[in-house]
């Protein structure tokens, strides 16, 4: 399933509503806990594309795709910006490591929680300029039931 949307949070709400219906009916995902997690992951990537990738410019577009392939559930967000640079992403993902104490300095941080949380939830993030992919193995998702 692929959706193209303008860079507004209201458009994100509408896209998420359609994708969640597709995830439940089209992909057969029924685990309420995982659907919550999927909602969080998709919103985070889309909100980042709105705010950071496209700088809140509603004239810039975002392309979102969700699919299952080779037993992997993958979501992909493409925006018109440069996205994260490699060093910034590496820093973010280091914070998501197995030692939860790494989050301590962020305990009162108002921002910059999203990607760390996605990684902590077990998703793999792949970032290139203007494009973010997050994926999980279907076997891991089904094992969470």
């Amino acid at each position: 399933m692929e959706i193209t949307l303008a860079s507004t949070y209201e458009q994100v709400d509408g896209a998420i509503k359609n994708v969640m219906a597709y995830a439940a009916c089209g992909l057969g995902l029924s685990n309420g806990r995982f659907l919550f997690e999927l909602d969080f992951v998709m919103r985070e990537l889309l909100n980042n594309a709105v705010e950071h990738g496209n700088g809140g410019n509603p004239d810039k577009m975002i392309v979102f795709e969700i699919k299952t392939e080779d037993a992997i559930l993958q979501v992909c967000v493409v925006d018109e910006g440069a996205c994260f640079d490699g060093q910034a992403l590496a820093k973010i993902l280091r914070q998501a490591g197995p030692v939860r104490a790494a989050m301590l300095p962020e305990g009162l941080a108002e921002r910059r929680r999203g990607l760390v949380t996605i990684a902590q939830l077990g998703w793999i993030l792949e970032v290139s300029p203007g494009r973010v992919v997050a994926w999980r193995r279907m076997s891991d998702i089904l094992a969470e039931k």
Partner: protein
């Protein structure tokens, strides 16, 4: 958002999911309420009993509201969370900053 005040405790009841599209308006509303009631309150309770989802921008709103309350010398708690929202907040270690509870 609906607000109720009883014996110095203000309860802010969320009526829409706490997501990016709602946060700006909610923050303005919450800050206005707190400004208007300054000096009369002891605690702020954010009640999520009627909502089912929170994203990272929503979490940012909660943390900012906590900071505002704390700086004013007020107690703060987040209540009525679904199991999924509670676990997400715990993953972000909000439970180590202020009390959170499930519905």
């Amino acid at each position: 958002m609906e607000t109720k005040i009883k014996q110095g405790k203000i309860v802010m009841c969320l009526k829409e999911d706490l997501v990016a599209s709602q946060v700006e308006a909610l923050a303005a509303e919450a800050n206005l309420v707190l400004e208007n009631k300054a000096g009369t309150l002891t605690d702020v309770v954010l009640d999520a009993g009627d909502i089912n989802f929170i994203d990272s921008r929503g979490i940012s709103f909660v943390v900012a509201l906590y900071k505002t309350a704390d700086q004013a010398g007020l107690g703060f708690s987040l209540t009525g969370l679904s199991k999924e929202m509670f676990d997400l907040c715990a993953l972000m270690r909000l439970d180590e900053v202020f009390p959170i509870s499930q519905r």
